[in-house]
Every structure is written in structure tokens, then in C-alpha cells.
Amino acid sequence: MTARIGVVVFPGSNCEHDVVKALGLVAAGAAGSADWAAAPAAAPAPAVKAELVWHGERSLAGYDAVVLPGGFAHGDYLRPGALARFSPVMEAVSVYAAEGGPVVGICNGFQVLTEAGLLPGALQKNRGLRFLCTTVGVTVCTTRTVLTGATEPGEELRLPINHFEGNFTCDAATLAVLHAEDRVVLRYTDNPNGSLDDIAGVCNQAGNVVGLMPHPERACDPMTGATDGVGLLGSLLEAALRHASLPA
């Protein structure tokens, strides 16, 4: 059984190759983990194929998860994600999300998802008006999402951030809903950008659509000095494999 993960490429996206590579690293690592060792001997190692999907594609049929990667889609013109949300592929992403398919938006991808209305709130300029390129601590606030299903509640992760407009905001009523419905996914341990309630990532009501400003794909290889992204992308792989095993 192979899980196919579609990584959308907008004009100006620049993290798609890192996402594909990181998913491959995590999938290869999973084959040697204790969980898989406990599986029945006849069970095959997880097969995951990550592919690039051009933003002009109108169909996501056959994919078991979709990732909107980081970058500067359409040059961030007008507002980050403001134009990308009207790309042909976004209609398919919307339907895919409504049907329960796993969708993860990383950084610019998170901005696209909020502009598209698939996630609440908006990402504003960082409070200090500085572009932040650094590693920060975040805490996992809920494990009921496709990105955190294999993590522990309260787990602390160190992940790279790389953004000028990562300051999450929403109105009081929306924040109340996020709390009531357990939809805050990650919080910064030391808020770097002024995000409301220290929010670094949120999800939709069902937990199948997640957006986050930090870059888990940049924390999956010991060579980069950080591997805390493995649990997050590993959760996504598990969600994709579950999706792949659903009756067609």
C-alpha cells in the first residue's frame, strides 16, 4: 500500500523540495522504528510517495495527503496567500479538506489556508517588524490532528521559523471557538512575533486541516541540527496511510 502525498507548488513557492525530501527521510526512518518492528512480519514497510502538484491542477484525486509548502507564492503580492487562494488547485484543496483528507499548510501554506477560509484568523506582520530566521521552541497543544497524532500532549519541539508575517490574529469570538473546540495545535514557548495567545499553529474543527508557521521539514535531518519535525511529519505520514487504506 502506497500513500501518495501531493505537495502543491505555486509560482514563488520555495520549500516544496524540502518537504518532499523530508517526507522521504521520515518514511525511511519509520521503516526501522519500534512501531513497525511490532507489526506482523508480513506487513510491508510503509511506502510513501511525495510528488509535486502544480497550482494549475484542478484535481487531487489519488492523493492521501496534501501539503501547501512555504515560500512566497505570487511574490506575496497584495497579501501573502491573497492571490494563491484563487489558484485552480485551491478549489480541489477545499473539496479534499471538506471530505476529510489531510491538509497541512506550512508557513506561506498556512497563510494561503487562512486567506482561503479553510483555517480561521490571519497572519500579520511580525510585531517587531523584523524578518525572523531562527529556531524557536513550540509546545504541542493537541494531538487530535493529522500533524500531531503521533506526538505527546505538551511535547516541546524546537523548529525553525522563517517569516516576516507570522503574527497570528483573530477576533475574540474566534479565539473562544478555537479554545472550546481544541483547535490550537502549537504554541510558541517564547512568542517571537506577537501572535495572539502565542499561537503557532491551528486546525479546523475536524483536525484534518492544519496550518503552522514553523517549518517541520527543516527539522528532519540531523545534518540541519534539528530533528524535532520528525514526529510532526511522521503523524502526517500515518494520516496519509490511514487515508490510503480507506475503501475507494
Binding site: 491573497a82 510585531r127 477576533d171
Partner: protein, 101 residues
């Protein structure tokens, strides 16, 4: 075209502003720079965007309606922004998009 179908090209200004209560660090930074330039009594600086466009419509109300729809759908993010539409007038026949009036 039928009689009464006259269409006019209007110049429209859409101003996109941060909604009240939304933090504006850019505006605050500009405001803080003013005293050093010897400006006093200048405050409450808020930074937005001015987008100019032409709209072909039967009348000013029609032009305003179209521009408002464009503003609501694309130009302003309703979570953090609102917009104000001003019909500036009929576009000069020789005017080109991008020319300074």
C-alpha cells in the same frame, strides 16, 4: 449596443485600511520617528494601501458597486482590514492605466 447602454470608464480609488483595534506596528514605528524630525502634534498613524483602478459602468453607483465587490473579494482581508471606495470621476479619454493624473 442598444440605446441607453452607454458605458463610461470611471477612475476609482480603493483604500484598504486595518480595522480599528488591529495592531499596526508600521504605523507605530512611523509615528515614533516623527518627533526626531521636529514634527509635533502628529499622531495616530495607520498604514494602509491605496489601489487605483478603472471600472466600466453605466453610472457612478454602478462603478462603486463593482469596485466594492472587488474590494470585498480580493483587495481587503475582512479578518483584519476594511475598505473605502471613492469614485474619482470619469477617466480622461487619453488616460492610460498607471499614468499619474
Amino acid at each position: 449596443m442598444r440605446p441607453g447602454d452607454a458605458r463610461v470608464i470611471y477612475e476609482v480609488l480603493v483604500e484598504v485600511r486595518l480595522r480599528p483595534g488591529i495592531a499596526d506596528p508600521q504605523g507605530a514605528t512611523i509615528e515614533r520617528a516623527l518627533p526626531a524630525l521636529d514634527f509635533t502634534g502628529v499622531g495616530t498613524v495607520r498604514v494602509g494601501k491605496a489601489i487605483r483602478l478603472t471600472v466600466e459602468a453605466g453610472d457612478e453607483d454602478g462603478a462603486r458597486e463593482v469596485a466594492t465587490a472587488v474590494a470585498d473579494r480580493l483587495l481587503a482581508n475582512p479578518v483584519i482590514e476594511d475598505s473605502a471606495v471613492t469614485v474619482l470621476g470619469v477617466a480622461d479619454a487619453a488616460a492610460r492605466i498607471g499614468a499619474t493624473p
